[in-house]
Each structure stands twice: as structure tokens, then as C-alpha cells.
Symmetry: C2
Subunit: 208 residues, 2 copies
């Protein structure tokens, strides 16, 4: 008897569609998407509208800074446009999230250059696929004598490969290239540190 | 030197706003919200618009069925409107997600009644706060002789309390009230079952 019934999932099409769209997000499966959709259904109308508008506004407004390629809602981002920052000190990062992390540390007063990736031959990402030529152009450009370039790519195989490539590419311009220090993280416990971190901490030891 | 710099988080306001709105969702903290926002930023424009539109459409269209109080984009939901379903067999569930779960099991051919909660005195939720009066009205109403009411509230303290309350409230109408069977879940391992489940499985044993 139950066999010849027209079955659906008991959800109105508008809910099914929302669940489908939400489950496209990274790390969100169908179950989590359903939970989010039910939560949104029970939320005040203006909260849901605020989320939808924030999505549209982000896509409408946010682009890349023409100078550092960080996220910006203007042709030049607030950091590049700030005369108080040291424009001859450039910190090179893989992505906008790395830039945010360094800004949060509140110790860097220079400007940035966002590569939007790292060299990863296995994934088919070569030097021309990330914003390396744009960095070289900044160093060459308008005699704005860059004092130092801090290469702050990740401490991963790809990040290290990118750092090495950049160091070589920058050499002809006589710019000082540095790399972030590696060692124990703040609060790090020797006992639980991995060997690679400990090796870095030992080889990079500093005199007190 | 770095002290007198105007600091921000290095994010355009439109991104900050999106992160804030996303982190209102249940189980999504600020880190996950940032990750989602960056993912959305890198997605094609029409995918982000599709998500925003799905949100607005859901809020615009989805309401409750006037008969079973399940989610519906029409005054009467497809299940209540389906003449092929057994309208004298009502399955009472706590929420729309429970209705979906039972529909997925593809074995129930009756109709539903969604309570939108369970009696939970500790949380201040009494019988009048959920759709119990509406269920009684359906049983009393238009002589549509209800044959059986399956009380499919959760196997939790609140669900059991609600089931007990409903069984008593329905008694005067001479309607048969049943409760979902409790026992080992499909694929369940005796060794790893909790005592309450095992006790239910033993007391509810059936002859082969």
C-alpha cells in the first residue's frame, strides 16, 4: 500500500532549495544544511534578510586592492592608502586570511602583498598562477626603493617552495628578503612538539 | 612605532558584515564563518546570488500547513492534500525534521501532526505552548473518524512526557493511541547498547 504513494521528503521546494544551496558550502553536509535551514526558518524575518543582503553586498563590493591584491572595497585598500604605514617594507602572504592574522598580531607596520596561492607543482600551480610577477613589478616600479621583503608564506612544503622561488627572483633587485622565524609556538610545550618544529627551534636559537 | 597605527582587521566592511551574519548560525563560530565567507568570495557570482535568493524565497514562501502544521508553501501541504494517503491515521511528531525522517523510511502512508515542540516544564513549555489543542480539534472535528494516532515524539524525557499527556488527552475520544516501538537500532550491537535501550528491547520482545 505504501509503495504506490507519491513520496517526497516532506519539505516544501523552497526549503529543499535552501538546503541544497547551503550544502554547497565547505564542510557543510546535507544534515548540517538541514539544521541550518530549520534554524533560519524559525529566525525573525529581518535576520534572514540581513544575511541574504550581506551575501549580495559582499559579492557586489569586495574586490582586490590594485596595489597589494588584498581584499578591498576600493581600488586601493586602507592599508596601502595609509601614509602612516612603512611602504618600503612589504610582507608577502599566501592569502587574505594570512594578512588578517598578521594584522591581529599588531606588530607589523609595513604593507602587504597577497599572492593568492603558493607554488604547488603537484596541483598544477606554477609561479605564473599566483601574483609573483605583480610583486616583481612593485619592486621594480617607480624607484620606490623597497627596503625589505618579509616572505610570510606558510611553513608548508608549498609555502617553503614559494619562499625559495621568491628569494631567487628578488635577488637581481638587491632587495633584502627575510623569512618569518620558525620555532616553538607561544605556550608551546617541548614535550609535545614535533621534531621538525624542534629542529627549527634549535637551529634558529638566539643568544640571550 | 606600530602603536599609533590605525588598526583594523584588514577586512573590507562588507566581509566583516558577512562574517558577523554567518556566525549567528548555530554551531558556526567566527573562524568557521570567516572560512565560509572566503569560500563564498571565491565562488562564481551566480552561486552566491542563488544562495541569497534561496534564503529570501524560503522566508517568503514557507509557512505551516493549516491542517498538520508541517512546513508548506501552500495553505495545505502536499501530504494533507494527497487523497492517496490514509487520512484516518495520524502520526504525531515534535518537529518538521521528524516528519522528514519518517517520510524517508517510506513505510508510513498516513498523515502527520507536527507539535512544534514537546512538553518541558523545566524550560517553561507547557501543553498550551505546542500544537496539542489543534490535534484534539482534528480528532473532534467533522466526524472524520480518526482510526489511530501514532505518537512519534522522541524517546527523551520530554518526548515521553508529551506522549503520556497526549494519550490521556485523547482517551475521552476513544481513539486508539500507539507509540513507536523501542529496542535495538538496525545494525545495533548488543555489546555497545545502553541499558535503557536493552531494557526496552527485552520488555518489548516479540515472538518469532
Amino acid at each position: 500500500m505504501a509503495e504506490n504513494l507519491k513520496r517526497n521528503d516532506g519539505l516544501p521546494p523552497a526549503m529543499t532549495r535552501l538546503v541544497k544551496e547551503l550544502s554547497r558550502l565547505p564542510g557543510i553536509g546535507e544534515k548540517t544544511a538541514s539544521r541550518l535551514a530549520f534554524n533560519l526558518l524559525n529566525r525573525p524575518r529581518d535576520e534572514v534578510i540581513a544575511l541574504a543582503e550581506a551575501l549580495l553586498e559582499m559579492k557586489e563590493r569586495v574586490g582586490l586592492c590594485g596595489e597589494c591584491f588584498g581584499l578591498s572595497d576600493a581600488p586601493r585598500c586602507p592599508i596601502c592608502a595609509d601614509p602612516g604605514r612603512e611602504h618600503d617594507l612589504i610582507c608577502v602572504v599566501e592569502g587574505p586570511a594570512d594578512l588578517m592574522a598578521i594584522e591581529r598580531a599588531r606588530t607589523f607596520a609595513g604593507v602587504y602583498h597577497v599572492l593568492h596561492g603558493a607554488i604547488a607543482p603537484l596541483d598544477g600551480i606554477g609561479p605564473d598562477d599566483i601574483k609573483i610577477a605583480e610583486l616583481i613589478a612593485r619592486v621594480q616600479g617607480d624607484g620606490a626603493a623597497v627596503r625589505e621583503i618579509i616572505i610570510a608564506t606558510n611553513a608548508t612544503v608549498e609555502g617553503e617552495a614559494t619562499a625559495l622561488y621568491l628569494a631567487r627572483a628578488l635577488k637581481p633587485f638587491g632587495v633584502k628578503a627575510t623569512r618569518l622565524a620558525r620555532g616553538l609556538p607561544a605556550g608551546g610545550d617541548l614535550e609535545y612538539s614535533d621534531s621538525a618544529t624542534l629542529a627549527s627551534a634549535i637551529s634558529g636559537r638566539r643568544e640571550l
